[in-house]
């Protein structure tokens, strides 16, 4: 369990944002943390849709229950978030 910074690239946003999360967080929790700084701030909400996370440029998202520490991401790596 350790504080871990990621770079959030949220679909529809105009800027990469620094988001502090925890290595024990699931990717669903990581997505929620990223959404807090983009959805309803710079990106319109899409109620009822799930926010997914994937490595920048990857085709497939991480499983929602996957822990951040299992993704192989390094500190400040950029993660893409999008409404599914």
């Amino acid at each position: 369990m350790a504080l871990f910074p990621i770079s959030s690239k949220f679909d529809g946003d105009f800027v990469l944002k620094l988001v502090p999360v925890d290595t024990d967080d699931t990717m669903a929790a990581v997505a929620a943390a990223a959404a807090e700084h983009s959805v309803g701030v710079h990106v319109p909400d899409q109620p009822g849709k799930v926010i997914r996370a994937r490595a920048e440029g990857a085709a497939d998202p991480y499983p929602l229950d996957m822990k951040l520490s299992e993704t192989g991401l390094g500190p400040t790596d950029t993660v893409e978030f999008y409404f599914e």
Binding site: P5, S7, D13, F14, V15, L16, V19, G40, H42, D77
Partner: protein, 498 residues
């Protein structure tokens, strides 16, 4: 007393030179200070400045320039521009003076380095006048805003900004240290005089001069015209050096220096010129868009001067042309969103009429950047102001030191590398390329995010960041220039029917 005609003595005086006998040439002109390695010794004396001036002539002309600018200022002080001008225009003045005044003073050191270290006698002579120019620019651009300090403490940043850790200061210092202070005299002249001054000072000093006159600020208009008349002269310092490098087999090196300096200058000017021109200048007095100014002064005129020398457009030309439609719009969204980090009050510039203008000048703006503004406007009119300032920091480029922005849904991306175990993020492929040209030069610098994550900013929250950057210390941070009056049209439009 009779004076000799200038032609009778000028060439002898300007080319005063000697051959060292007690020390070596490299001791007199250390390569790391003088630069220009590989240019034969006999070539330096052929440097021929494109203008000739004597000290007597210089002082006389400069006195007249100062007299013109100071007398306009004195005559118009009673007009009380501060209270009568559009607040967006006042913000331009705050941004300009803080970003420019001490940089100009710093540029006097750049010129002084030529005076001592340049191996070309003609350049040493010419740079003496350039050095005096830059002292004048530093002094006059501190004196002019001083009258506003008692009315508005944000004007104190004119003197404080470059000593602070404000994020704009970090970007400006990184840029000017790279371009003005840390290369050999020959290389600096190509980066700073040719690429930066020839191209980009026109943008700020001529581009904004017309807008200033239209906005009724004749003091500022006269001031920056006066400064630009010096810039146009000493900017020519670099051209003879470029010719010498090209003629002596160093065309690739010259091209590389221009490619680096051009991109870095452009990206910095998206903040200094791009945002004000397209968002702060009152709509009714705007002369041209930032993109139109860039097309006139940079794409057409500066590129012609490059091609006349037998050089090429920078390799990233297509990227640059696309960027003109994008980057400064993202930076404006960023500066407005994080407005508490500014020393000026940003104008939003997105009333319905202003959006029509943006859409006309930048087709597609409403469907991209406009959609982000829609979310912010909805928050404002729905009584959620706390949602209009992000609760975290933006990621910052390790070269430009600016937030990493892009067109929403299209071009936002991270460009990163790992070098010697450290991860670096860049705002574009070009910024990454610049880093890779000389990693030793750039690798030690820590951007704002590196400092934040490294524990240098305490407390490690937004309040701590603001204090670190001098907000609430030198002056209050920024808030909407028009006190959100521009939202009235949206409140009416979004009001419930009936």
């Amino acid at each position: 007393m009779a004076l000799l005609e200038r032609s009778a003595w000028y060439d002898l005086a300007r080319s005063t030179e000697w051959t060292p006998s007690y020390i070596s040439e490299d001791e007199l002109f250390p390569p790391e200070m003088s630069g220009g390695e590989g240019i034969p010794a006999e070539v330096w004396s052929t440097y021929d400045e494109p203008y000739k001036v004597t000290y007597r002539e210089y002082v006389d002309v400069q006195r007249q320039k100062d007299e013109g600018a100071y007398s306009v200022k004195a005559a118009l002080e009673r007009a009380d521009l501060y209270n009568n001008a559009d607040p967006g225009w006042v913000s331009i003045l705050k941004e300009h003076y803080a970003a420019v005044a001490l940089v100009e003073y710093g540029a006097s050191f750049q010129e002084a380095r030529y005076v001592r270290w340049s191996k070309a006698p003609g350049m040493r002579n010419m740079a003496t006048f350039g050095m005096l120019d830059e002292m004048r620019h530093g002094q006059i651009q501190l004196y002019f805003p001083h009258e506003y300090v008692s009315k508005d403490r944000q004007f104190d940043w004119s003197h404080q900004m470059m000593w602070s850790n404000n994020w704009v200061a970090l970007g400006a210092r990184h840029f000017f240290d790279d371009m003005l202070m840390t290369r050999g005299a020959a290389e600096t002249s190509i980066s700073a005089n040719f690429a930066f001054e020839t191209g980009f000072t026109n943008l700020q000093f001529i581009g904004l001069s017309g807008d200033a006159a239209n906005a009724g600020d004749f003091t500022f208009s006269k001031l920056i015209q006066s400064i630009q008349s010096d810039e146009a002269r000493h900017a020519q310092l670099g051209t003879p050096l470029l010719q010498m490098m090209i003629e002596n087999g160093q065309k690739a090196k010259a091209q590389n220096l221009i490619d680096i300096a051009f991109w870095r200058s452009y990206r910095l000017f998206t903040i200094l010129s791009g945002i004000p021109m397209d968002y702060y200048v009152p709509l009714e007095v705007r002369e041209s868009s930032f993109k139109e100014f860039m097309e006139e002064w940079i794409v057409t005129q500066f590129m012609k001067s490059i091609e006349d020398l037998g050089l090429s457009k920078p390799w990233y030309w297509d990227i640059f042309l696309r960027d003109l439609d994008e980057h400064h719009h993202g930076q404006h969204l960023g500066t407005y969103s994080w407005r508490p980090t500014l020393w000026w009050n940003p104008a939003a510039g997105v009333s319905p009429e202003e959006r029509d203008w943006l859409e006309e000048k930048y087709p597609g703006w409403n469907d991209t950047f406009g959609k982000v503004w829609d979310v912010m406007i909805d928050n404002f009119v729905s009584g959620r102001p706390e949602k209009t300032v992000p609760g975290t920091l933006p990621m910052i480029c390790n070269v430009s030191q600016l937030p990493i922005v892009g067109t929403p849904g299209r071009s936002l991306k991270d460009t990163s590398i790992v070098f010697e175990g450290r991860k670096y993020h860049f705002a574009s492929e070009v910024d990454k390329w610049i880093f890779e040209q000389d990693p030793e030069r750039y690798k030690h610098h820590k951007n704002l995010i590196d400092r934040f994550l490294g524990g240098e900013i305490q407390p490690a929250n937004l309040d701590g960041v603001l204090e670190y950057m001098g907000l609430g210390v030198v002056s209050p941070g920024g808030d909407d220039a028009h006190n959100y009056a521009w939202l009235e049209a949206y409140k009416t439009a979004l009001a419930p029917a009936g």
